[in-house]
Each structure stands twice: as C-alpha cells, then as structure tokens.
Amino acid sequence: MKVQIRKANDVTILDCSGDVDLYSSPHLRETLMKEMHAGSPAVLVNMAEVGYIDSSGIATLVEGLQLSRQTKTRFGLFGLKGNARSVLELARLHKVFAIFNDEPEALEKISSTEPFGGL
C-alpha cells in the first residue's frame, strides 16, 4: 500500500492505493496520526485506489476519527468502492464516518460537515 500526501487549499488529502491489511495499516496509521496533529483544519482519505481493507485498516480509520475529535480536525473519506465500501457498511460504520462519493464533493462539503463524527 502507498500513501501520498497533498494539499487542496487548506485540506490535507491522503491518497491511498493498494491493500490495507495487518502489514500495511501501521503505515496508514502513522501517516494519519501525523497529519491529524499537524494542524490542518480538515483531513480527507482518498480510498478510490484501495482494493482491500481489513479490520486493522478499519480500526486505523476509527482511530483517526477519534483523534479528529481531540485535534478538532474535520475528517472524512471519499472514493470508497467494492470491498472497502461493503465492509464499512457491514460493520455499520458508514453512518459514523463522513463519507463522500468523490473528491469534488468531499472538498465542497467537508467544511460544512459535522466535524468530529458521531463517537
């Protein structure tokens, strides 16, 4: 899995690609935590190129959501498809995260999204 970081205005976007599993999720966690503490008002995770995510990857996203409350960072996901979308729905977490269809929608709506999720 690769994670690339970029900025769109003042929003930090993490472009993830590949499989997020027990081996790779620590890398996503480290990057997510670092960016969450870096003071960006919003962090978005681009899941469009994630073909697989397991429970350790989902735990990382939940941890990011919890940290977003502490750091007062708006946090959302976009581009979910296939396995990633279905497992989030199966675990009923699609109602907990701010999830957007694509990047334009995410950038448009993240600033008006309830900032810290439902945890």
Binding site: D21, Y23, D54, V62, S86, L90, V96
Partner: protein
C-alpha cells in the same frame, strides 16, 4: 476426510504474506463456483483469522508456522487454518457489539459474517486448527421447511 484436498499452503506468520493467502483463497473459491463477492468475503475471513493468529496466538512473531488447507466438497468449501501456538479458548474469541464503536474487535465479526460455520478442532494435540465452512447454497434447516 472424504473430500479432495486441493490446496495446502504452509507459510510463516509474516503479515507481508497475508496477500498471498487472500489471493489463493479468492482464486480457489471462484474456481469452485462462488460468486466474486462470496470469494472476496472468504478471502477476508481467512485473512482475519490468520491476522488473529499472528497478533494474538503468536504475539506478533513473524517466524512461526501458519498452514492453510482448502478442501472442496460437492456442497461446500472448508478452510482449515493451523497454527502451533498456545491453545485458544473458543469462548474468548467473540465479536464485539457493533454499537460499541472503537478501534479493533471487528476481525471475528467479519469472519462470522462471511462463513456459515466456524469452529476449532477440539482434539488437535498441538496448536490450533480453525475450520471455516462456506456452503455453495445455504443449508435449509428443519425449522425453515414449512409443511404443505
């Protein structure tokens, strides 16, 4: 055992190799007739079970033994994951309630979501053998059959 052993993979408990297990399970499940979505679910169930072994049974050791057997029967596939770690108490392996939103605890939930049966082989002498079963068509229990 009465079935056909199609595949047996013996590997180390290295998380870098989990994608290999997922790939083999996906391929064998689709080859045996499961739809892509079921094959993906089975790959995730085996991935989660192997991850549990690596994290909990082996305490994140990456050099221990992990073996997967894939058996195909006319009505089902069985996936047997074998480790040589300390005995697991099946009662301790329970999914957390979904309303308790927190990091972790979903692996067992996903395993049970994607297979029809999940059990440990009781008399295995050393280590653990976890058997996951998926039927090609869900079994109809007596209570589901209504008399005409």
């Amino acid at each position: 055992m009465g079935g056909v052993e199609v595949t047996k993979i013996v590997t180390s408990s290295d998380p870098r190799l989990l994608h290999v297990l997922r790939g083999v399970v996906r391929y064998r499940a689709q080859e045996a007739g499961f739809e892509e979505s079921d094959a993906e679910g089975l790959a995730m169930a085996i991935d989660e079970a192997a991850s549990n072994v690596i994290r909990h049974t082996y305490g994140n050791r990456h050099d221990a033994r992990l073996a997967l057997e894939i058996w195909t029967y006319p009505d089902r596939m069985e996936f047997v994951l074998e480790d040589s770690g300390p005995k697991v108490e099946p009662g301790e392996v329970q999914p957390r309630p979904l309303e308790d939103v927190r990091p972790g605890g979903l692996g067992t939930f996903f395993i049970k979501s994607f297979v029809d049966e999940c059990s440990y082989e009781e008399n295995f002498p050393a280590g653990n053998r976890l058997k996951l079963v998926k039927y090609f068509a869900r079994k109809v229990s007596a209570s589901d059959e209504s008399p005409d």
